[in-house]
Amino acid sequence: MRKKLLTALMAGVMVLSLTACGGAATESTSPDSSSNESTESTESTDSADSEDSGSTTAPEGSIRLLNGKPEIDSQLQDLAAKYKEETGAEVVIETIGGDTNASDELKKMYQADNMPDIFVIEANQAANWDGMLADLSGEAWTEDTDYELVDSNMGTIGFPYTVEATALAYNADLLEAAGVDPASLTSPDAWKSACETLDSKKDELGITAVFGWCAEPANLGWSSGTHVFAQYLDSGLKQDDTTYIDMLNDGGKIDDARMKAFAEFVGMMNQYSDPALLIDGTYDNQVAGFASGKYVFVTQGNWINGSVTSASDYSGFKMGFAPYAFEDGYDTIIAGPPSYWTVYSDGNVDAAKAFLQWVSDDSAQDILVNEAGLISPFNDCQYAAADPFYDSIKSYMDAGKTSGWHTMLKKDGLQNETCQVFADYAKGTIADADAFVETIKKVIESYYAN
């Protein structure tokens, strides 16, 4: 009897201490996960400054921002310092990057009850956070930009902090030497003749191939599966035209005729590509080849600018973007925010709103554009980005010839399926455009069905 009682008691105690420690462990991770930045020092000054409120919650006005772009971390720290200098309010920047992606880290933070007030999301992740994102409509900055993320249920939820563009990046000097006008590349026929011209002048221009297009799926699947595939969804369409993404998200439907034209264009890219890069290449080889003038076009976006201009054999050539004109008259490039800053509705919403408004104004844009090298999504921004692609992107933006980043709205993980189809097409195991359409249709449909 006594033995049983004792066993029961001990079991109870153990379970109790387990749960209690579980709670404690959760708590203890919170300073830990944020300590990789200067958080600790800032937080200690916080508690010194703030009147003895007797709580660990952040003082009035202090907010945390989760950044997913490690390359602009130090500039965001400057931004936070500037904000503190101008308004006295504290912003703590926490950067996630490298091999951890921000959405995974956010899930951990949510489970640990340690959510930042502002965090980065991609458009298709908004639904996961349904009901937890503050509606930012009515803020003054929404008048200055065309790029905010609007959800039909949740309202204006995303603040655009940068514009990125993707299309076929070209080497303007090589095109000029070959006598090809990039502005004329708005039809499949124009592209074909340009490719033939460039291909025939290979030795004269010193190029290896016309295209630096890499369909390697294991490490570069994001490029073919997300960015090149994006051209099927958006090329030639207006910024807010969601025809093909809506079709896709309606059970994985594709437009056969459009896909066929797109496939023929990709077939042309396969034909005029460097075979050494096409199947087994890497991102580094691709960008390095473009920087050294081995390729006239690469299938990347303006994020390659830093790697290109800092390459040792970069000759200082001008660059720009040409559209994927797989139908006559397609003259748009994809440009817009690939990700957004959103405000956590249980966080310090007012302080976060004030901060975002400040970011859209002059002194913050100065830092973001001139120091971080971002392209501003705000119409009244007076700074020109240092980006070598800026002139080209700006000309498309001014002419209203930008298409949306709707590829970010496709079902999570689809790029890992489609990139393999691009690779097989490049390798020749998928023989022609018709087979490509048939295969990609099958793959997409079965992915959406599961």
Binding site: V13, K107, K411, N416, Q420, A423, V443
Partner: protein, 366 residues
């Protein structure tokens, strides 16, 4: 209390103090728990009161238990107290996640929250995915190939390293070295080798200008090569240890009786190290099933199969563990990933138990 009497008792203590400690400790723990749930925070001198309650409460309970005056259970109590850190760690890192994981697999958990319980929907769904069935098939195939090849190579290397060749220490170290390199690093190094060096040879042989990794069948072979290369050295060490335990006198007796080297190997050495074979097959079996890092770094599961169960497979070289990971993390479907992981656990447990049962019966007792 009388000194003479208490010295006969195993436990020294008195009941009221012990009970007070235990009850006080329990109360503090419960308070800490309540604080946690209610999000009450009371810092005193910079220390959170909740944390202090928790630690003092836990210590109180243990002190109470230790001084509980009992003769019959004192030893058990001591055992539990000393085992507690281990049991606690085991429960927190293995048992509780396992139970939670099984629970999550019946919901629509997306890593953030769950909206509803979906019963067996995830389990039904995973078996309707051709890509998942494909992953199971190639994992089984990989395990079979791997178990045979790793053990064969490792055993041959072990024979080499126990024969009296010169520079034995060097060979042992050299064969073991790949195992010290992490799988991810190894995968990226071999990816470079396969797509640059090996491609030169294969293009001369087969005329294909693309690397082994770009085709499903050859990519599968590539994974096996890398994994055998990495793992054989480790298994070799176990075989070396096994071979060294075979008594010299038995071997000498065999030699005097005129046994040839082959006979010695098959009739004496191998039966005598049967237990080593059990360990090694078990290790290779489970590790091959769980293989993740090389798979991720080398091919990331790519490769295509044009017609499998009526669909075009795009994850030709994706093993089970990687499939689970990409389902949960890349495809953002945590609940389905959990369901797959539960199946994975069941398969692994069943196969391991079966395998140990089967080979254990063949072992010879010395």
């Amino acid at each position: 209390m009388d000194y003479r009497i208490s010295s006969y008792k195993v436990s020294t203590g008195n009941k009221p103090v012990s009970l007070a400690c235990m009850i006080g400790g329990a109360v503090l723990l419960v308070l800490a728990l309540i604080f946690d749930f209610m999000k009450i925070s009371i810092p005193i001198l910079g220390i959170e009161l909740r944390g202090a309650f928790l630690v003092i409460g836990a210590i109180g309970i243990f002190v109470g238990l230790y001084f509980f005056p009992t003769e019959t259970h004192h030893r058990n109590i001591i055992n539990v107290i000393f085992l507690f850190p281990l049991l606690f760690a085991f429960a927190v890192t293995v048992i509780i996640p396992l139970i939670l994981g099984v629970g999550y697999s019946f919901t629509d958990w997306d890593g953030i929250r769950m909206r509803e319980v979906v019963g067996f929907a995830n389990y039904i769904k995973m078996f309707s995915q051709p890509s998942f069935i494909w992953s199971i098939l190639i994992t089984v195939l990989f395990v079979v190939f791997n178990m045979i090849l790793v053990n064969l190579v490792a055993f041959l290397l072990a024979l080499l390293c126990t024969s009296r060749i010169k520079g034995m220490g060097f060979f042992r170290a050299a064969y073991f070295l790949p195992n010290l390199i992490g799988g991810i690093v190894l995968g990226y190094i071999w990816q470079f080798i396969f797509s640059n060096v090996v491609t030169k040879w294969t293009s001369a042989l087969s005329g294909s200008q693309y690397s082994m990794l770009s085709d499903t069948k050859t990519a599968f072979i590539a994974i096996i090569i890398v994994y055998v290369w990495q793992y054989a050295g480790y298994i070799m060490l176990i075989y070396v240890t096994g071979l060294n335990t075979v008594p010299i006198d038995v071997l000498e007796a065999a030699a005097i009786d005129g046994a040839s080297p082959m006979q010695t190997l098959f009739e004496i050495k191998i039966p005598m190290i049967a237990s080593t074979f059990t360990i090694c097959t078990f290790l290779t079996l489970t590790s091959a099933f769980k293989m993740f890092d090389v798979n991720l770094a080398l091919t990331n599961g790519t490769g295509s199969v044009s017609d499998f169960m009526g669909s075009y497979i795009t994850n030709g070289s994706e093993m089970l563990a990687l499939n689970i990971y990409s389902t949960a993390v890349v495809e953002n479907n945590y609940a389905l990933g959990e369901a797959k992981a539960v199946l994975f656990f069941i398969i692994l447990a069943a196969v391991s138990i079966l395998q140990v049962r089967l080979t254990a019966s063949k072992e010879v007792e010395l």
